[in-house]
Homo-oligomer: 154 residues x 2
DNA sequence: GCGGTTCGACTACATCTGTAGACGATGCAC
DNA sequence: GTGCATCGTCTACAGATGTAGTCGAACCGC
């Protein structure tokens, strides 16, 4: 079996994220359109964009359909799936008590819709309940403060 | 001007995060201790760890104090500060409506303490209020599906 | 003081990344 | 059908990264 579209896709590099950002936003794009946007936005030469498009195809993030003498590029992975992998990597770097503060920072600095906030709220409520329950049936004494200490007054 | 300790520190690479993870956990460490842990955990040769420690010192993430013929290494940036930069990078890759789902995924897949969840809850509540207020002066129907918030002309 | 152990510095080298030029193939306008 | 614009591929090359070997200096035990 060929692993040309591995189930464990390679991570994107900084520049590759930028190109994918453009293609994701446009859903599909001719090379020319990507050049134009990338040229304006990042001041890249078309040659640079060409290289990146090629690498993205090789990495399996873009698929192509021939049209005329060129391709239409379109994403083969969704933005959110890719972001999730990147998020997992980030989370895997968080040591002991840092995950909470990390997420707090992210929520703080993101612009979210009301709906987004609602969903988060529900998630958190659910997690709290789960926590409470698991703390309940595991009566290991009143002082299991968990590994992550509480850092008051930072 | 010398930028030996730039205010915009270089990002860490995958391997460098791992080494920093060890040092952050130990607060300070002799090379030997890092070798040992890294050897067990990642099956790296001591030479590899040495190289990474050096690079981390060069990048300004570790500072050293001479002790005997070696150094004590200790972090010069906190884990959380470093995570925050990485998080900002990640968020900067999120296009239009993906930030919400991204954060949802992260909250879902993280293990958080009750306190962490509380803080998040408060943050979210605050953000909702802020949103409501800014939406208040511009009447929006019940179906604001908007991905990017409506920010008043900055 | 001598020898083994360990340290940090330097060197090595393949791969990946950022950035771009050169070039042959192809399409479009006339 | 002939040029010119554009496409994708190949090549280039410097810097970053992953991974590790070599080596002189310094320490520790005797």
């Amino acid at each position: 079996m060929a692993d040309d579209e591995s189930n464990v896709p390679k991570e994107l590099s900084r520049s590759e994220w930028k190109v994918m950002g453009i293609v994701w936003s446009m859903q599909k794009a001719m090379a020319r359109e990507v050049y134009t946007v990338a040229g304006e936005q990042f001041d890249w030469s078309p040659a640079t964009v060409k290289t990146l498009l090629k690498r993205l195809v090789d990495k399996g993030y873009l698929k192509t359909t021939q049209v005329g003498n060129g391709f239409v590029y379109r994403p083969s992975r969704t933005a959110i799936a890719s972001l999730r992998s990147a998020a997992d990597t980030l989370l895997s770097n968080a040591i002991d008590g840092t995950t909470g503060p990390l997420l707090q920072h992210m929520v703080k600095s993101s612009s979210l819709t009301h709906d987004d906030l609602d969903e988060l709220q529900q998630l958190i409520e659910a997690k709290k309940n789960a926590l409470a329950k698991s703390a309940g049936n595991q009566k290991t004494g009143p002082n299991q403060k968990s590994n992550t200490q509480k850092r008051r007054g930072s």
